[in-house]
Symmetry: D2
Subunit: 464 residues, 4 copies
């Protein structure tokens, strides 16, 4: 029902050679709970005790897949965890849940992957000529083969991962566990975030976002660098940066706009702040005369607050939100899409009636939800609705680990801004331009961004 793109996955790893009992399983569980917004389809935890990897994974939310009994039974000194996204009605089969745990020449590997390998199909065909068999159609299995095929020649699993960086194309933030090591790697473009932190008790923690470090009380140390391969063995961390800098960095800018949690910090910028800044910029370049500013919960709220701050138009809470309708809920036969939106968002008539409203949202995919929201606003007597998007219009597919509908389903594909404005029923519509977009991360330094979904400018050699 959500009229949004979805991030594909979240990854988490923790290494604490002195851990006992369910300590690390509990941390992995907390980490997964913190990353649940990055994937609600399936999840899993693998844990390493005495060089033996045990795992539990299934389709479902973290709270559905795990219970006390399962967590309490998972003991070890290293754990990796993964959650992945699901489109309603098309839940991935259990076989694709991660961590992917396999046996290969040197024992077990547990692999957690966030991203998308753009030459996976080509590698799949190459490997199967040598007799490879596949149990899923995930690119994670391709990553596993790529490591397995290079392990003996490279002499170490971390060497095989570094070698794989020259073979795999596209986006990959990886957290891998072998019988004796944890290996963490990020593709040379750095499409997906990946960070590193430490706990006061010496535990080393790796995660897609800093909110997962916070959830396990770990202090943020630094980002994992694009192209970096980190290996932790016997509690000691080694970094291999030989692949760093080989590509221009191109972090997905939509992580700031929608994917990441507002309390996460990516490259020194708090996501909530980036969103508020996007609202401020939007107010500057796309002003409008109105009585109040409201935001579409949840991700439109900080942008709306920013817009209000910059424009001087008062911010107001526009909607009551039903937090129990946050998950996919059932849709009986007679229940319309409108009823579903109405259940989730309840406009606060008392604040809105008779007002000219700036309605701020972060992005629009098919436009259906915004159409219904605007209809609901008019029903309760809102006089004008000026829709402001805190990001540019989507026009191009993403190949780097997000759930992208065909361009044909994008409301901005083949429609002008005026067309879209009419379709959704707003009085005016404006977007934040691509040029302004980078300014939501003011101190980016030489960090570069991928904004291909808006601009169509893909980093070189990255398209399938």
């Amino acid at each position: 029902m959500d009229d949004k793109f979805r991030e594909e996955c979240g990854v988490f790893g923790v290494y604490d050679k002195s851990a006992t009992g369910n300590k690390l399983a509990t941390q992995a569980y907390l980490g997964l709970m913190a990353l649940q917004h990055r994937g609600q389809e399936a999840c899993g935890i693998a844990i390493n005790k005495d060089r033996e990897i045990d795992f539990h994974k299934d389709v479902g939310l973290v709270e559905e897949v795990f219970d006390d009994k399962i967590i309490n039974a998972m003991e070890g000194v290293m754990a990796v965890a993964h959650c992945r996204y699901s489109t309603a009605g098309n839940r991935t089969d259990k076989n694709s849940a991660q961590p992917l745990v396999v046996n290969y020449a040197k024992g077990q590997l547990a692999i957690c992957h966030n991203g998308n390998i753009t030459n996976a199909e080509q590698l799949r065909q190459e490997y199967q000529l040598d007799g490879a068999i596949y149990r899923s159609n995930t690119d994670t299995e391709i990553i596993a083969y790529t490591i397995a095929r290079n392990r003996l020649a490279e002499g170490s699993v971390e060497g095989a991962v570094a070698k794989a960086m020259g073979i795999l194309r596209g986006a990959y933030s990886l957290i891998i566990m072998s019988p004796s090591k944890m290996i963490v790697a990020r593709d040379p473009h750095g499409f997906r975030p990946l960070c590193y932190g430490e706990r006061a008790d010496g535990g080393l923690v790796f995660a897609s976002e800093t909110c997962a470090l916070d959830a396990v009380d770990a202090k943020f140390v630094r980002e994992v660098l694009p192209g970096e391969v980190i290996v932790v063995k016997d509690g000691v961390l080694h970094s291999n940066t030989e692949n760093c800098g080989k590509q221009a960095s191109s972090l997905c800018i939509f992580e700031y706009i929608y994917f990441a949690r507002p309390d996460s910090t990516i490259n020194n910028q708090l996501v909530n702040d980036a969103r508020r800044l996007s609202g401020r910029l939007l107010a500057k370049v796309k002003p409008v005369d109105a009585d109040i500013v409201i935001g579409v919960p949840d991700s439109g709220i900080p942008s709306a607050i920013g817009y209000a701050e910059e424009s001087g138009i008062p911010y107001e809470e526009g909607f009551g939100k039903n937090r129990y309708a946050g998950r996919t809920f059932i849709r009986p036969d007679q229940m319309s899409r409108e009823a579903a939106v109405r259940l989730k968002l309840n406009p606060l008539k008392k604040y809105l009636e008779g007002k000219r409203v700036v309605l701020v949202d972060d992005s629009m995919v098919r436009g259906t939800t915004n159409s219904i929201i605007i209809k609901m606003l008019r029903e309760i007597g809102v006089r004008e609705v000026h829709l402001r998007m805190s990001s540019p219009a989507f026009r191009y597919p993403c190949y780097f680990g997000t759930d992208v509908p065909d361009s044909i389903q994008l409301i901005s594909y083949g429609n002008t801004v005026d067309d879209v404005c009419k379709i959704v029923g707003a009085d005016s519509l404006a977007y934040l331009d691509i040029n302004d977009l980078k300014n939501i991360i003011p101190d980016a330094g030489n960090l570069g961004f991928c904004h291909a979904c808006f601009s169509g400018e893909y980093p070189p050699n990255t398209r399938p």
Copy 2:
């Protein structure tokens, strides 16, 4: 884990004599979803087709108990629905889920009850001398007997309900369905809210809160009056007000502070507005010098915004909130209470570090959560924490349908404000006084409130 009181129940009813298919079951489902915050333990829907009442109920959230198949199979022209609260680890058995559906001399009755009968035990004993048998220990079964025992003498089910008003003491907002009627009644004190609305298609809707009217696209018509018995038959609504005004009205004021949804309106006051007003009042009477105001999500936020508006101290978002940790989640053995709070609420260091903070919350029961929050704030470098509660301190038990711990568990029982301040580790602590409390509903008219949990002043003849 939540350091909060809990409302016991939500009730919902819809009558639409022209309804076909699953129309009313879908509306009942939407109504329950909208009232889910009033009870997460168990829920159920009963539906009346051709004078036959069918029902489905179970322990669990609405989305767990119902699925498309169940809803689609429920057809009829009247439906009643109920959700009820659960304390973690003490889930009520299935037998206590409502609607309570029984057979009696005149066929079936489906009863939905929000409240608490304070003379239930006395009635239970009286009835069993005549051979009554009980299948549960709920007061709803006592209500059923009281109606059944008076049905023949009174000549109608609505007459029996009116008669029962003279027998039952305490709090009860009732929605009842007989083979041919819907009966809606509210105790003469009007402890619990109950409202009435209409859909454009002629459907009559009754619900604990207006947010449930909104969820089914019904327009609010009016409150059900304290002491009123409404009966709907053949699509026509009749009101019996003979019991109205026999008692001074005493609406639970804590509905505004915490129980009700912010987008519900009770007696002409939007709950969100009552909360914001409580913050404004608090700022006036309990001011403090500080750099920013933050609120404890979710119910403390509007009060914090009100406090900021009145005091002129800037409002800031203090916490990232993990919306996936909103439900009861598992607590593996090694997971501390602090870890659980940390998972739910992540302080936004960037905004808070080095600041003197006003921390606004709506109420405090055991004080444990606030202690942990204040500890977390200090860890990230907050200089001062001034805790402000938008309601008075809890000191007395509630007998009217909420989940109240023994007084002994209340942090304010036997502790002075200074004691509590020290226990939770704040730099200062202040509450909204009982005297100011009524001002959060400015236009209450001759509506009276129950604030016994704060004041110990119980409405006459209502204690068990």
Copy 3:
């Protein structure tokens, strides 16, 4: 699918005042497993510890409803248990599962009932005039009310049960538990079996059949008498026989033919022996010239063996039986009734081909299964099929606790023996006559039998 009548219920009770831990719950579980053939729809156990009755019940087989954790948590010194029957596709709702546990004037009662109260509807109407409410449509709730309404006047629960004997009509074998007593009663006609045994450790055991005594290693002591009320208190058993002999005994003779387990003994006759004797009698009075005798598994086998013994025609195993298809299994859309029978019973061609066969079965309801079996036998080359039934033809309804289809569904209703023979495709067909039927229990003494389903001769004053 089964072309058979079904017994409605099995009851079990155990009293052992020195029991600790899960000892009695385990015995109740074993007892239920032993009585599972008497009811596969729902089951439950109630246990009494320190005068508090706890219970667990649900729809499903014993092994589905109970697990180690549940059994191990049930502690106490008295336990009662019940299983009941289900027609496929019409599983009784959970509310009707027994033991029925209620509260009444003197605390808790847990009631287990096997039988059928024929004046239940009349009592239901009488009680509801006094305000009774019903949570189910079971006659067990009527029994509960009857006891509750007489408890205070009679001065004891066992007195109330004895009093109820003058009020309740029809069939009832009852095992009831109060806070301090176990009460066991059997209707004056003694329609359903009920026996009493003792364990070496002093435990007193009551059960529908002796096979349940065997399962808990209890020695059979005697039948509970028709009209008897036994009460066990403080470990001592008292018998009230004031209602004994008021009616002519009329034990259901079909218990011997089909319902009871072959290893149970009822009134000194081993059920397996009664069946074998029925075959011997059948061979005497309905002889036929043939090569081999085979039986329809399972209940037709002993009769077939008896037929072979008496006739001198060799007995042969006629069918392989799929023991995994014994329970209700799914029937996908394209799966015919014939496929279902074929899955269950596989004729052993090697033994049957070219033979003239006597096919012995215990009873025939709709005739469909026998038609298919005979078709299968002819397909593998059987030359002649002589069908012999070890009981008379069903022609009349049963009101005493069995699952009886409308007469209209009985193949023998309105069809002559010749008609039926043609319908099922046999070369000849013969039944055991009613006159011979009693001879299958040679030493019955003054025990009388109910054979109304065959003869239409109902015991006086017992029809609804």
Copy 4:
């Protein structure tokens, strides 16, 4: 609890190019139900529609894993199915359930395997040097790799299977489905049975046992030959016999004694007849003076009947059997092994008291069950118990697809017959000798048998 060996698996396949709807899924379901005795741990069905293979599999019995909805949704013209065994408490993870469905260079393969590859570990190591990764520790994955690695060189999947026969050692009855073919193969020794049948509608059926042919109304055509590779394409069957006769045939003789269903025919001998013959032989060579012969249900019964026929001592039914205790049931803490046996088997005192009894069973593994049975017999007054086993004593491990405990757990390992007799408490004990064993299949022709578990004589080059 069962004191028996277990067969590992059952396989089933059906090809019917004109099939529509769920026809073949229903047949596969029936086939699995018929083969359920060969594996109760996990099961699955894969179906091929328009060259796409879909599958459903899980741990559990067939009736637990499948329901109408699943079967009705499976459409196609080829189906393969598999069930596998489970030891209680050690249920294989879902990953090992079959059919194993993989992708390889030529699309999908669904593999069903009954047997055990004795050089699997060696092949596993060889393949992983080339970069193979494993998702399970089953030998079925080794079979898949072996086929995949030879597919391109051999030019066809059936060629690759034939080639694999030179690589794989041990026991394998395989039913494999590719996008356009069904391939059926049996190892050159023919350890496990595998047969072929045809339905009247042209459907080709392959199964471990003929009882599965019967269940889908298919006529037995012939055994699949040891070493044969059958491929069905476009509805036409081709046989490759190039590997036939390369090894001496060595069919597992224990299939006749215990594993196979009595109504299955293997190599022209009805299993029930083989068992009866074993009893006859036993009576000849191990006679004893006694009053009656009884058998241990179920597999000991035909041997007991044979013993009675040959010896002239009357056969009697010795036990009532609880058919609901046939599956693994729970064992609460206080429930002894003896209680579990007592629940399953109830000696019929009336027939046995005061008698000298020959007790016939098919085999003894740990001896515990027989000990308990003999104790129970003595308790009810049996005078003498002469235990007769219709197979030799187990002394050696089996490597060919059965569940064999360590030798150390075998009662006959290190104990003389006299020792064992004393341990189980019998008055006398005798086994059928290895020399006599072959005579239970009188017309075996040049069929050879594996009896290594009794004799220790393993076929050449077959041990791991």
